[in-house]
Subunit: 250 residues, 2 copies
DNA sequence: ACGCATTTGTTCGTATGTATT
DNA sequence: TAATACATACGAACAAATGCG
């Protein structure tokens, strides 16, 4: 990226992109490169404007979009901060399970397993790995009021999560995605979920304390980091007798 | 307009609203009053700016928010239009069921029932009606490739949907929400869904062609019109063996 | 306790670019 | 081509929130 010059950028570009989008791309690349860590403030609008030699309003529009994309968080009077899963306000950003009685009690978790293995074909496909690549598999239970309600199976690319062990998981306080962020430098930006109703098989039924063949919500999630690179595959089985998956359409 | 004072909000009571938000509220009220119908263009930014005696930029910011709220749709060079459920591009805005094979084939529907009755307690609560108020109950099946996949039970406030009959439903081509818009003046703006896994009971199993006690996705939706007034309660049962509910988290 | 500097938020104005008819 | 509408970009000024001295 040379000087944006003026608006007369002399076309010929593959596809026209307005100045503020070019700035947005530059900022995104800095985020991706780890120039500013999750939870930290990025430079002020004026400073970025000077750095990129554009007006403050143009930087502003770039940041606006990054904020609506949930990559940044603006706070008046304080600055603009890199989004994080570690803060209390936005904890469990991606968790949509709500108890019927509306209580805000938090869930507790128990890790059942954590091991490295060669990725099964299905995982290879979802995470865009090469066949034979290593992955970390984590299995955990989430409890609400001492009752198990979620059984999660999680697969992570082995190359990105070296040193992820059962001990590290047990020690960590806070959301899993906060651990990934601060210890492995992997930020979860967005995710896609496929939701179905399935019948509990024998082992899952035992773990969740439901009858065999009881209906469970199956939530298959692929989570993405910068550049839309898939970095997590997760299959959750939810007992939805006393809680539900909440969604908002608009 | 010197005192917006729109409290009735928990926690922080702003008691101050920036100009563009006041303009946004004015435009919203015009939409609510039906000044411009779904699919129609609203006046241009400059005209609105003159009408409200503010700068074009202020109107622009108000419209920006209304566009991200999906109340308006901007089209460069053409104008800004009132959002609608009737257009091909955005048809079935609220339908999240996707076939496994990714085909874009549309579903066909069959209406099983349409009658007026006194609202059951549960419906009264969800639609904020008075006990004894009339509602319209619609039951329908959605088929995909000749196979039934969705059983919907729909309840609508009787006062708003006078003249809704089985014949009207059968005649109508296009999304149900398009009918509500153009024939009854009720625009669906947003919706909340509670999703669970349930076991098929005898009658539902028969209608959907699944085994009794088979797992089904239960989708309970409350849809809102302007001013966050609930105007539809809908309970869908989805057979998710060959399709899934798609959701995006960010 | 007060004021000041910093940072984002709001508002105005102007000019120009791009898309549509 | 011309007219219209939204989109981009710049600049300037002030307001509101925050934190520090």
């Amino acid at each position: 990226m040379s000087t944006p010059a003026t608006s007369a950028d002399a076309g010929a570009a593959p596809s026209f992109s307005p100045l503020y989008r070019q700035i947005k791309a530059l900022i995104t690349r800095s985020l991706e490169a780890g120039a500013w860590k999750p939870g930290e403030a990025i430079p002020s609008e004026v400073e970025l404007a000077q750095r990129f030699k554009v007006s403050q309003g143009t930087v502003r529009k770039a940041i606006d979009e990054l904020a609506t994309d949930n990559l940044l968080v603006r706070r008046q009077g304080k600055g603009t901060f890199v989004a994080t899963h570690a803060e209390a306000r936005v904890q469990y950003r991606f968790l949509r399970l709500v108890p019927d009685d509306g209580s805000a009690e938090r869930m507790t978790r128990r890790f059942l397993d954590c091991r490295r293995l060669r990725a099964p074909a299905e995982v290879t496909r979802a995470l865009e790995l090469k066949s034979g690549d290593a992955v970390v598999h984590v299995r955990r239970l989430l409890h609400f009021r001492e009752r198990p309600v979620v059984l999660d199976d999680i697969w992570l690319p082995g190359a990105l999560f070296r040193g992820l062990t059962a001990e590290r998981l047990d020690e960590w306080r806070g959301p899993l995605y906060g651990l990934f962020e601060s210890e492995f430098g992997v930020s979860m930006i967005r995710a896609e979920e496929k939701i179905r109703a399935v019948a509990a098989d024998e082992p899952c039924a035992a773990l969740l304390g439901v009858a065999v063949a009881a209906p469970l919500l199956s939530v298959e999630r692929v989570a993405f980091t910068y550049g839309d690179r898939p970095v997590e595959l997760r299959r959750g089985l939810y007992d939805t007798r006393d809680q539900y998956y909440r969604n908002e359409l608009s």
